[in-house]
C-alpha cells in the first residue's frame, strides 16, 4: 500500500451561520485551497464529501457532484458522498485514504459539511431520531440527548461517576475552545455554570451537550510522491479502523456504560499501527456529550474502566497531562455539524502538528494523534491515527 498524507486543511467558522449549505461548501473549499497555494486544482482526481442528512436539512441529495461544481473540481478517478451519521466526515477521509493507498487516486479533496440550523428547527432536531432505529427506538422519542443521558445515568450508577466530573469535561473543552476562533462557543465556563444550565435530559444539562451547528471543513490528501511536491509539512495517515458489533437498536446495545466496540476498535488500531495508548500525544475524541468523553478515556485505554471521571478530575486529559484530549475544544465547544466534525478533528491535528494554533492550546512536540468519531447511539466507532513521522509500512496490520 502507498503512504498517504494530509497536505492541506481548511475550515469555516462553526456556529449558527447566516450562510447556506452551498456557501459553507465554498468557504471550506476556499480555505483549503488558500492553505495550499501551489496545488493546481487539475491535480485533484478524486472527491469525497462527508454529509449526514442534506436530504432532511437542506432537501438536497446527490451532493458530491454539487460540491465538485461549486469548487471547480473535475473528478476522473473516484467520487462519493459518505454517510455514517455523526461520523460521515471521518468516513470521507477514510475512503480518500484508501483510494490513494491502493493507487486508484493520487490527490483527493475531502470535504465535510452540514447545515443544521434552518427555519424549521424542530424538524432539524426531529431529524436526529432516524439516526437510531426509527421504527423501534425513534418512536419512543429516542434522540441523542436521552440516549446519552441514559449512558450517563448508568455510568454514574455502575462506577460512581459524578455530575461534577461530567461538567469538568465541558470546563476543559470550553477553556480550549476559548482559544479557537472557529469554535461555536468561545467562552470559558465553570463547573457551577454547567450544573446550573437548563436541564435537557437528566443528568445532562444544556452544557453537557454539543450543539446544532452549521459548518464545513476540508482537506487535501495526497500520495507520498505528490505530497513531497506540495508541502514540507505533511501529516501522515498511519491507519484506521471502524468497529460495530451488529448493533443498532436498544436490544443489541447491552450495557450502556460499556462501549465494547470502541474498546475493540482501539486495540485493533493500536496493533495495526504499532502504538500503545501511552504513545498518543493528542486525542481528538467524539465528545458529543460530556459522558462520551469520559467513557472514551476508558475504552481508548487512557485509564482503567470506570475511572474516566477520576481521569478528568485529576487533569490527566489536559495539555500537560497523560494525553491532551480535544485541545481544539472538541464538539462541545466547536459544535457538531455532523458531516464536518470528523474533518474538523483532522484539521485540528494538522494545525497542532504544524504549530499553527494559539499557544494556550498548543501541544508542543506532539508526534502521534488519534481521532475518534462515533456515530448513532455509540454503536459504531471510527478511529484514525496520524503522525508527523512517515510510517515505515502500511499493511493494515495483516
Amino acid at each position: 500500500m502507498r503512504r498517504v498524507a494530509i497536505v492541506g486543511a481548511g475550515i469555516t467558522k462553526f456556529g449558527v451561520r447566516e450562510a447556506s449549505w452551498k456557501d459553507l461548501v465554498q468557504e471550506a473549499g476556499k480555505a483549503v485551497f488558500d492553505d495550499i497555494p501551489n496545488l493546481d486544482k487539475k491535480d485533484i482526481d478524486s472527491l469525497f464529501v462527508g454529509a449526514a442528512q442534506p436530504e432532511r436539512w437542506v432537501f438536497q441529495t446527490h451532493v458530491a457532484p454539487l460540491v465538485a461544481e461549486l469548487l471547480g473540481i473535475n473528478v476522473t478517478r473516484a467520487i462519493a458522498r459518505t454517510e455514517v451519521a455523526c461520523a460521515s466526515g471521518q468516513a470521507a477521509i477514510r475512503y480518500a485514504w484508501l483510494s490513494i493507498a491502493t493507487g486508484l487516486s493520487d490527490v483527493a479533496l475531502v470535504l465535510g459539511v452540514e447545515k443544521m440550523n434552518t427555519k424549521f428547527m424542530n424538524v432539524s432536531q426531529s431529524s436526529m431520531i432516524n439516526v437510531g432505529n426509527r421504527e423501534f427506538d425513534g418512536a419512543n422519542g429516542f434522540t441523542a440527548p436521552p440516549f446519552f443521558a441514559l449512558a450517563a445515568q448508568r455510568h454514574m450508577h455502575d462506577y460512581g461517576t459524578t455530575k461534577e466530573q461530567l461538567a469538568m469535561v465541558r470546563v476543559k473543552n470550553a477553556e480550549y475552545g476559548s482559544y479557537n476562533p472557529y469554535a461555536q462557543f468561545q467562552k470559558k465556563v465553570t463547573v457551577e455554570k454547567v450544573l446550573e444550565s437548563r436541564m435537557v435530559a437528566p443528568p445532562l444539562t444544556l452544557f453537557d451537550c454539543s450543539a446544532i451547528t452549521d459548518g464545513a471543513a476540508a482537506l487535501i490528501l495526497a500520495s507520498e510522491e505528490k505530497a513531497r511536491q506540495l508541502t514540507d509539512t505533511p501529516v501522515w495517515i498511519l491507519g484506521g479502523v471502524q468497529h460495530v458489533d451488529a448493533a443498532h437498536t436498544t436490544n443489541q446495545m447491552g450495557d450502556l456504560s460499556e462501549w465494547v466496540a470502541l474498546r475493540k476498535a482501539a486495540k485493533d488500531l493500536y496493533s495495526m499501527v504499532g502504538i500503545e495508548a501511552k504513545d498518543i500525544d493528542i486525542a481528538e475524541v467524539h465528545d458529543c456529550f460530556t459522558i462520551s468523553e469520559i467513557i472514551e478515556y476508558e475504552e481508548l485505554g487512557f485509564c482503567r474502566k470506570g475511572e474516566g471521571g477520576k481521569f478528568i478530575e485529576e487533569g490527566e486529559s489536559y495539555i500537560g497531562g497523560k494525553v491532551a484530549v480535544n485541545p481544539g475544544g472538541g464538539l462541545l465547544s466547536n459544535g457538531h455539524p455532523l458531516g464536518a466534525t470528523g474533518i474538523r478533528q483532522a484539521w485540528e491535528v494538522v494545525m497542532q502538528f504544524r504549530g499553527e494554533v494559539p499557544k494556550e492550546r498548543y501541544v508542543d512536540g506532539a508526534e502521534i494523534a488519534i481521532a475518534h468519531n462515533l456515530s448513532g447511539m455509540a454503536q459504531l466507532h471510527h478511529l484514525m491515527a496520524y503522525s508527523v513521522n512517515k510510517p515505515q509500512d502500511v499493511k493494515f496490520g495483516r
Binding site: P146, T250, L256
Partner: protein, 168 residues
C-alpha cells in the same frame, strides 16, 4: 418600483398549507399489504390485539428484537411470534425536557426509559419505551415496570397501536 407593480406577472399558485411531512410521523410502517407493507405486520396486529410480541427463530432458537423476517444469526426464515414477558425491570431512564421530536412535543417533558424483560441478554429483550404520568424523580434503577398498549390517535382515521411502560 417592484417588478410586480410594473408588469402583470404570471403566477404559480401553491396550496395554502402543506400537510405535516410523513417523515415526522414515527408510526407509519403498520400495513400488511400495499406500498407501505411490512413483513413484520403481525407485530402490529398483535399490538392491536393487546400483545407485545417479537420473533423467535425456529432454526437457532434465538429471541430477536426488533422482529425480523430472516434471522440475522442463522439466516433461517421460519419465525415464531412469542409474547414478551409483561413485567420487566427498569435499566435506565431520563426525562426529555428539551428537543422532543416534533410529533410528540406536546407531551414533553416525558420519561424515556430502557427496561429489560425476561433473562437479558441470554433469553430476554432490552427495550426503549416512553412513560407517562410519572416524573424522573419518582423512579429508580431496578423498579418493576410493565408494558402496556398505547393507542396512536391521528393524524387521519387509521387506528394504530404502540406500547409504553408503566411503573408497577
Amino acid at each position: 418600483m417592484a417588478l410586480r407593480e410594473l408588469r402583470k406577472l404570471r403566477k404559480l399558485e401553491l396550496p395554502d398549507t402543506v400537510p405535516l411531512s410523513p417523515i415526522l410521523d414515527l408510526w407509519d410502517q403498520q400495513e400488511p399489504s400495499g406500498p407501505d407493507a411490512t413483513g413484520i405486520y403481525d407485530f402490529y396486529r398483535n399490538l392491536a390485539d393487546g400483545e407485545l410480541t417479537t420473533t423467535e427463530c425456529k432454526g437457532c432458537g434465538k429471541l430477536l428484537f426488533p422482529p425480523v423476517i430472516i434471522c440475522p444469526y442463522c439466516n433461517g426464515n421460519d419465525m415464531e411470534w412469542v409474547r414478551i414477558p409483561e413485567e420487566g425491570e427498569l435499566y435506565a431512564f431520563t426525562e426529555l425536557k428539551l428537543g422532543a421530536p416534533i410529533i410528540v412535543e406536546n407531551y414533553a417533558p416525558f420519561v424515556i426509559a430502557i427496561a429489560r424483560f425476561g433473562n437479558y441478554p441470554e433469553n430476554g429483550v432490552q427495550l426503549s419505551g416512553m412513560m407517562f404520568d410519572v416524573r424522573y424523580e419518582d423512579l429508580k434503577i431496578g423498579d418493576k415496570v410493565k408494558w402496556d398498549i398505547l393507542e396512536i390517535v391521528g393524524p387521519g382515521d387509521k387506528a394504530r397501536y404502540w406500547y409504553y411502560f408503566k411503573k408497577v
